[in-house]
């Protein structure tokens, strides 16, 4: 071990008790060494302190989604090709991504009791917005799940998030949410390719019958998505 290596090993508490005692007695009669130790301690504290703020930041929901709900559908492995309603998605997903910068700084999905629950503007869009309407969030398909609950697909370009949420107990619970590249959707003529396979697979696994048409969608919304 060189002198420099011993010095930083001391600062990093990597020395054995004997080495440590020997180093400290050496430091006691060597003020230059003691000053070096002090400088290295300040450096270590400064570096760790400089990155501490990241821990206090809210974690972007897309990362939580990737780590949790997204792979629930991915784990089922490759499924059959997207059925008829995938083509319908192309018709329904009409929207120009306007006002990207005005998205409020709030997480659209939060973990509650092991479930990802939509809130804020995403929850509002899921409750109120029709697929034909444009907004920060794009609503794709609406349909009924096998248990009767209403479900809707969504895409949130500012959050780089796409997913499927179902109305349960007055909340929109994400069945799947996946990171999604908004570049793919900037050209809305190719919107069909913008719905990620994970979301399409989740729809496939959840849907009972056919997707709602525009009038059924409006009627379900006006009834507050009650089954």
């Amino acid at each position: 071990m060189t002198a420099d290596e011993r010095l930083i090993a001391y600062v990093d508490e990597e020395l054995s008790p004997q080495e440590r005692a020997a180093f400290e007695s050496q430091m006691a009669c060597d003020p230059v060494l003691a000053a070096k130790v002090a400088a290295h301690r300040r450096l270590a504290a400064r570096i760790s302190g400089s990155y501490g703020g990241v821990l206090a930041e809210p974690v972007p929901p897309r990362l939580v989604a990737v780590a949790s709900a997204a792979n629930d559908s991915a784990r089922r492995g490759p499924g059959p090709l997207p059925p008829l309603w995938a083509a319908m998605a192309a018709c329904l997903v009409i929207g120009v991504l306007a006002g990207r910068a005005s998205w409020p700084n709030q997480e659209p999905l939060v973990m509650r009791g092991g479930e990802l629950v939509a809130r804020g503007d995403l929850a509002k869009a899921l409750s109120r917005q029709l697929a034909s309407e444009t907004g920060l969030v794009k609503i794709g398909l609406s349909f009924r799940a096998r248990d009767g609950a209403y479900c809707r697909t969504f895409e949130s370009p500012p959050e780089r998030l796409a997913g499927l949420a179902c109305r349960r107990d007055g909340r929109w619970v994400a069945q799947t949410a996946t990171a999604w590249a908004p570049q793919a959707a900037l050209n809305y003529r190719t919107a069909a390719s913008a719905t990620p396979p994970a979301v399409l697979a989740a729809v496939d696994a959840t849907i009972a019958g056919e997707a709602l048409d525009a009038s059924a969608e409006r009627a379900a919304r006006d009834r507050g998505w009650k089954p």
Binding site: I8, D12, A39, V54, L55, E57, V59, A67, A74
Partner: protein, 164 residues
């Protein structure tokens, strides 16, 4: 969500911090975290129960970052604008000062060779022991300590002028 996924979710803040040291620009760091989580989930069979999940994921992130850096230098986009993704907001004077001090450290860290920067991030930022950090980097302990020594000497010299 199973327990493996829950542990990964709990690690996300630390993965983001480590990512920030590597990639610097917050959006790039989060892309790196995402790639890391995706790789970890795809390879969950390789993780041995009873070993540290954080170390295992740091190793995945380090490798993902090396892959990413290579791809970037090929397309010569290695240096993203320094200020990108930075929202200053209406922080108070003290917060602003802390932010500027942190920026100095980030600048100094960014000038280090990749291998020294990663070694310092694991030991000084993430608090891993030398042995754990050497395992993450898949290098002998002696190589790790020499990287730590050289990295710290460079940082001391770089930050000396800015010291109060």
């Amino acid at each position: 969500m199973d327990s493996f996924e829950r542990e990964i979710v709990e690690l996300l803040p630390r993965l983001r911090r480590f990512g920030r040291v590597l990639a610097r620009v917050p959006a790039d760091a989060d892309d790196l975290v995402q790639a890391t989580v995706e790789r970890a989930l795809a390879r969950r069979g390789q993780w041995r129960l009873g070993t540290r999940l954080d170390s295992w994921m740091f190793r995945i992130m380090k490798n993902a970052w090396i892959d990413e850096s290579r791809a970037r230098s090929r397309s010569s986009r290695l240096f993203a604008p320094e200020e990108a993704g930075e929202a200053v907001g209406d922080a108070g004077a003290a917060a602003m000062e802390a932010r500027l001090a942190a920026r100095e450290v980030e600048n100094a860290m960014a000038k280090l060779p990749q291998d020294q920067k990663v070694a310092l991030a694991l030991v000084l930022v993430e608090g891993l022991s030398y042995q754990e950090a050497a395992d993450v980097l898949e290098i002998p302990a002696g190589t790790l300590t020499s990287r730590l020594v050289r990295g710290r000497a460079a940082l001391l010299a770089e930050l000396a002028e800015a010291a109060p």
